[in-house]
């Protein structure tokens, strides 16, 4: 199963489990760390084909299929971007994104995938609206849920189609303190977000 675009609760388990092993091996063998600090604002991603202003000082997780950055730790705040082929299976629902989908259809699949995650309790949809990203029609959903350990989380997700690809961007953090605290960084990231051609 592909491990891209997991919500924090899932990443928490996956990353921590793999982190130790990957970190030790990678550091010893190649000198490459699992996390690296973002030192400049402009960021260009050649794998996921986007550019954006990233918050300087945040840490980037160097493994996994998605671009993932955090300030205080991935459980406490994370911005993630994924770009995947439309025919690729999603992680938690058998539904797929398709080229003929309206923005609200994309939001429906995104929310279905999110709600199908084991460990997301008392899910609440706070808003679901159309969004324009880099000139493309897409969606913006805002939601809340409780983790299995009772932590109240809040998140925002965007998504849009780019030919045979779907871009999905998310920000998630605990509702208390962290969500509001890092929201300005996410807003800046979104305002500057642009896709780039190969």
């Amino acid at each position: 199963m592909s491990k891209t675009f997991y919500p924090l609760i899932k990443i928490q388990m996956d990353v921590f489990r793999k982190f130790i092993l990957v970190f030790v091996c990678a550091s010893l063998v190649s000198g490459c760390a699992a996390f690296s600090q973002l030192r400049k604002e402009s960021y260009e991603d050649d794998n996921r084909l986007f550019t954006a202003s990233v918050p300087v000082g945040w840490m980037r997780y160097n493994f996994g299929k998605e671009f993932l950055i955090t300030r205080d730790g991935i459980v406490l705040n994370a911005i993630a971007v994924s770009r995947r082929k439309l025919d690729e299976k999603l992680d938690f629902t058998k539904k797929k994104f398709t080229t003929d989908m309206l923005p609200q259809d994309l939001a429906e699949v995104e929310l279905d995938d999110l709600k199908s995650v084991a460990g997301i309790n008392r899910f609440t949809l706070l808003s679901n609206e159309p969004a324009t990203l880099d000139g493309r029609s897409g969606f913006r959903v805002e939601y809340g849920y409780y983790t299995q350990s009772g932590l109240k989380m809040r998140g925002i997700r965007y998504g849009f189609l780019e030919k045979e690809w779907i871009y999905r961007i998310r920000y998630e953090a605990p509702t208390q303190h962290y969500f509001q605290y890092s929201l300005k960084d996410f807003k800046k990231f979104m305002e500057s977000f642009k896709t780039k051609q190969k």
Partner: protein, 405 residues
């Protein structure tokens, strides 16, 4: 399954391996609940304690389907099936429903039985439900968890296989065996114990006067579900060979059971079961949509419309099925929606004809028209949708469409 977070995939695979090791081995002999000599040793008490923890985890995890009327009915039925000699043992059977569209049910050693909404939605009547409860109750009454636990800890071959990995992981056999036993409670016991649950469960439904022919249908539902959803997970109650074995077992039991007397009433219990599970079916279809289980959703909708041909909800869900479904044959690259959309529109129309204020049917209709490029009809449907319910969740999309077209 929604509670899979409580078990890792590795553990589940391990259960499969341990069951293979156990197959063909003689089961530990201990008295059943209610038989003379019945008492609980420390190992069984530990399994019960773990069960209590699991019950709490499920209760705290937003997994239970909140329908007191349905729960009362299920618990009364379980009590009715419970043999008299067990009732005096102060063992309480508690039946709960889990919000999960997959077809499964399981029993914990402490007397809790959990049934998925998916299973309740697939079951047709009380006789099939009684078959399920009889099977699960036998796991509890015949103490299958502790039997499996003791079989595991007694196996020298089992220990030999696990010694190295256990030592490496810093674990011990007793705690690992307890975990395996516990997972078995959810994912299925050894073949021998499952056969025993079939036999005793079948006797329970015969005693209560249910039509034995219904017992096999329960496993036909499971078989169909596995086929529809192309299940590949280690999912014991519903793994295909297991279900086929269960089905054959019940067919043999039916063939062996004495023919019904002319005066014997064969009870299926449709009238009691179907009204109580009506909301479960509707909710479960929505969860099937969420998970992309369209074939299972289709079966539930067909059954619902057969039972309730004048319910707008059924036609609305049929419309949603044709609007959302994405499954396609191996020859196609993706589903041809041009065939689905007219079906969806027809179903939405039927829903509206039965209930003119069924707002979601207008929403579905508008979305289909929008995709077909029929803008005037899409606008009219969206306007009606907002008129009935001005505070819909997707209001921003609707207003955006209406203002730009």
């Amino acid at each position: 399954m929604v509670y899979t977070r409580l078990f890792t995939k590795e553990k589940i695979v391990f259960v499969a391996l341990s069951s293979l090791l156990l197959s063909g081995c003689a089961t530990v002999k201990i008295p059943n609940v209610g038989e003379s000599g019945y008492s609980q040793a420390d190992d069984e008490k530990r399994l019960q304690k773990r069960s209590e923890e699991f019950v709490e985890e499920i209760a705290e995890g937003d997994l239970l389907y909140p329908d007191l009327g349905l729960e009362t009915y299920l618990n009364r039925l379980a009590m009715r099936l419970l043999p008299e000699e067990v009732k005096k043992e102060n063992l309480k059977i508690t039946v709960k429903v889990i919000k999960d569209p997959t077809l499964n049910a399981f029993a914990l050693p402490n007397g809790y039985i959990y049934i998925h909404t998916g299973m309740l939605a697939a079951i047709d009547n009380e006789a099939q439900l009684a078959t399920l409860l009889g099977h699960e109750m036998t796991h509890i009454l015949h103490r299958h968890a502790v039997k499996q636990f003791r079989s595991l800890t007694n196996k020298s071959a089992f220990f030999a296989v696990l010694q190295a990995p256990l030592a490496y992981a810093g674990g011990d056999l007793a705690s690992l065996a307890a975990q395996v036993t516990f997972i078995s409670s959810v994912y299925g016991f050894s073949r021998e114990l499952e056969d025993e649950a079939d036999d005793t469960g079948f006797a329970m439904i015969r005693t209560d006067g249910y039509d034995p022919a219904e017992a096999v249908k329960l496993f036909e539902h499971l078989e169909q579900f596995i086929k529809d959803e192309e299940l590949k997970l280690p999912f014991f109650f519903s793994t295909h060979p297991n279900v086929v074995a269960r089905k054959k077992n019940y067919q043999k039991l039916i063939a062996k059971s004495p023919p019904a007397a002319a005066t014997e009433q064969r009870v299926t219990g449709d009238m009691a079961y179907q009204p109580l599970t009506k909301p479960v079916v509707l909710d479960n279809v929505m969860w099937c949509f969420q998970k992309g289980m369209f074939k299972t959703a289709e079966r539930h909708i067909q059954n619902f419309l057969q039972r309730y041909p004048h319910e707008a909800a059924g036609y609305y869900l049929k419309g949603e099925l044709f609007r959302q479904r994405q499954d396609f044959s191996k020859k196609e690259k993706k589903r041809d929606k041009t065939k689905d959309f007219p079906e969806a529109l027809a179903a939405y129309e039927q829903a509206i004809a039965l209930d003119q204020n069924w707002a979601p049917a207008y929403q579905g209709r508008a979305l289909v028209y929008q995709k077909q490029g029929n803008i005037p009809e899409a606008k009219a449907a969206f306007k009606k949708y907002l008129e009935i319910n001005p505070n819909v969740a997707d209001k921003a999309y609707v207003e955006n469409f209406l203002s730009t077209h």
